[in-house]
């Protein structure tokens, strides 16, 4: 059931009003590709985008951020945390990325709460846009069960009537009180009619048929498949092509590994501790002081990443570590393809 119908021009008016209170982040076209960007003019948002090259994680978990600033004195120091609580709204997030954000939420909340991520996240409103068709051929979101989202958003928009770029009418579903209040208090849009509900059912039927399956097994069986594949020669064979460049990590919407380092002035009396994205495919990722490297070979690093995405992250968080967006496959300089890896492993097992 839909909660509301909203024409695209009304939506943009609403987002324009929202922009007075929040930073607006959404898909913007740059030449032939789309990127999530903070926009000053909501008119530059393009909700008919196919996919964004990177997920929106950079706005919740920036590539580089300051954890704290410090001042050193004789025989003591002070350290002051840096928390970013500026309100944000993501406008135009596809279901795969909504699933990815849910995973990041879980990771940064569980065991030890990471105030830096949670400060941003708890001040973020998420407006999703559903995908009627797969954004590219290689995506396997339907296999991973992430081509639709039923939670993890404040508002979800379904592009039901698409009469042209500027005339889309969205079916709206509320995912939170904040999302409901935002739409309902605006008094824009309309109550869905029986015809709208029928159109939505038709939309869902067409969508189900439009998303192909690429995996030769159910995603729930991937952990077991990997259990049997630790010693497969495929890791070495595939990793022979790997440049250990980390593009897979960089482009992944669920990668959250990081490094921590210090920056200071020349005298060393003031400075800051920074964290920056890191990637498990990079050569020195598991190297300890003294030089021992626990994953010295590209094959062991490739295996580590695949195990994390398809087994270990799920084991730890209960959520899929891979959302099937295929960004890693597109980004790979050596054309290593995760679906191909899973299917080859299944063939051997």
């Amino acid at each position: 059931m839909l909660d509301r119908m909203l024409a695209q021009r009304d939506l943009f008016t609403l987002v324009g009003e929202l922009a007075r209170k929040r930073r607006i982040i959404g898909p913007v076209r740059r030449e032939n590709h789309f990127f999530y960007e903070e926009v000053a003019d909501v008119g530059t948002l393009d909700l008919s985008f196919n996919y964004c090259v990177y997920g929106p994680r950079a706005f919740l978990f920036p590539p580089t951020e300051t954890l704290f600033t410090f001042n050193r004195f004789d025989h003591t120091f002070t350290a002051k945390p840096v928390l970013d609580v500026r309100p944000m709204a993501f406008v135009g997030v596809h279901p795969c990325d909504i699933h990815a954000i849910r995973l990041l939420d879980r990771v940064f909340e569980q065991d030890h709460r990471d105030a830096h991520y949670l400060a941003r996240r708890s001040h973020t409103l998420i407006v999703g846009v559903d995908c009627r068709t797969p954004c590219t051929e290689g995506v396997f979101c339907a296999d991973m069960g992430t081509h639709s989202a039923i939670e993890g958003f404040d508002v979800m928009l379904y592009p039901l009537h698409r009469d042209g770029r500027d005339d889309t009418t969205f079916g709206v579903m509320f995912g939170s009180d904040a999302g409901r209040d935002w739409i309902l208090y605006s008094r824009r849009g309309a109550i869905p009619t029986a015809a709208d509900e029928r159109a939505f059912e038709q939309y869902e039927r067409e969508k189900a048929a439009a998303f192909p399956r690429h995996l030769r097994m159910h995603a729930n069986d991937l952990p077991e498949l990997l259990d049997r594949s630790y010693d497969s020669l495929l890791w070495e064979a595939t990793a022979r092509r790997c440049y250990s460049c980390g593009s897979c990590n960089l482009s992944c919407p669920t990668c959250y590994c990081f490094n921590i380092y210090d920056e200071s002035d020349l005298s060393g009396t003031t400075g800051r501790r920074e964290r920056t994205w890191d990637g498990c495919h990079l050569k020195n990722f598991a190297e300890v002081a003294g030089g021992h490297n626990f994953r010295p070979r590209a094959a062991s690093r490739l295996r580590h990443r695949i195990y994390r995405k398809a087994k270990w992250v799920r084991q730890r968080t209960g959520l899929a570590g891979c959302v099937g967006c295929a960004r890693c496959d597109r980004a790979c300089t050596a054309k290593i393809n995760s679906v191909e890896i899973y299917n080859q492993l299944a063939e051997e097992a």
Binding site: F68, A115, I150, S176
Partner: protein, 295 residues
Amino acid sequence: MSGRRSSTILHEPPPRASSAHESSLYIPQPARIIRITPLTEMEKLFELGFLDGSRLNQQPGQFVQVSMLGVGECPISICSSPTRPDTFELCIRRVGSVTNRLHELQEKDTIGIRGPLGHGFDTHEMHGKDILMIAGGLGMAPLRSLIQYILDERPRFGQFHLLYGAREPKELLFKDDLLRWRESKDVNLAITVDRPDPQWRGKVGVVTTLFKDLSKLNPDQTVVVIVGPPVMFKFVVIEVLARRIPQGNIYCSLERRMKCGVGKCGHCQANHVYVCIDGPVFKYGQLKGMREAVE
């Protein structure tokens, strides 16, 4: 579509609002260096106390993140026991940028500490048991916290065997402690080195050679603790299993690169475990089949 509607009941609230006051996990606390004791060419012992007078309240086997602000941070195991709570000690090998800088510091200087972090030894599970401890190289540092604990709570434990192997005599850590422990009836200490120097009068060989002089163990009554380099681990486990010690009675501690120390950054992951929050102390059963843990 009714499934969709009902599913919103499952909707999880977004992460709990985090105020600007929520404390950051990453802030180190200032701690003063009370005493520095050189141990070898590479290691120094730092005795520390928090500036605000608070105590560390560690378990044996836990670690801290040590900050040199402006240089960085690194994980160091705590080598003193909570039974000596006023201060705490860290044995620091000069091996990276942070530890090299730490070695330049003087008494009364201040460093940053986050912790205690990780899971230490379950000392309650060891109460009433005989203890066999095997230390290799720098593995002696985390074990010293447990050794001190056992010696301070001696009536709670049965027999206590300690086997210690180092590459060379000059690499032996805590020589003052070793002299004291060797004289003590509370611990049965055996030491060996791989490469003796001309002054060495003790045993020569890898640490597993010490097993042949070990008195008979009571398998169900014995807890075994192994800490050392990965290469040592496998061979010691074979010796231990050959003496029919149940796998649930075997503990070990792992070393990894760590950045956050709180289960986020991914650096310390060995197969499915995060060494920083699931360990660094593990039972052997947890690591079995985890090839990255011991290879």
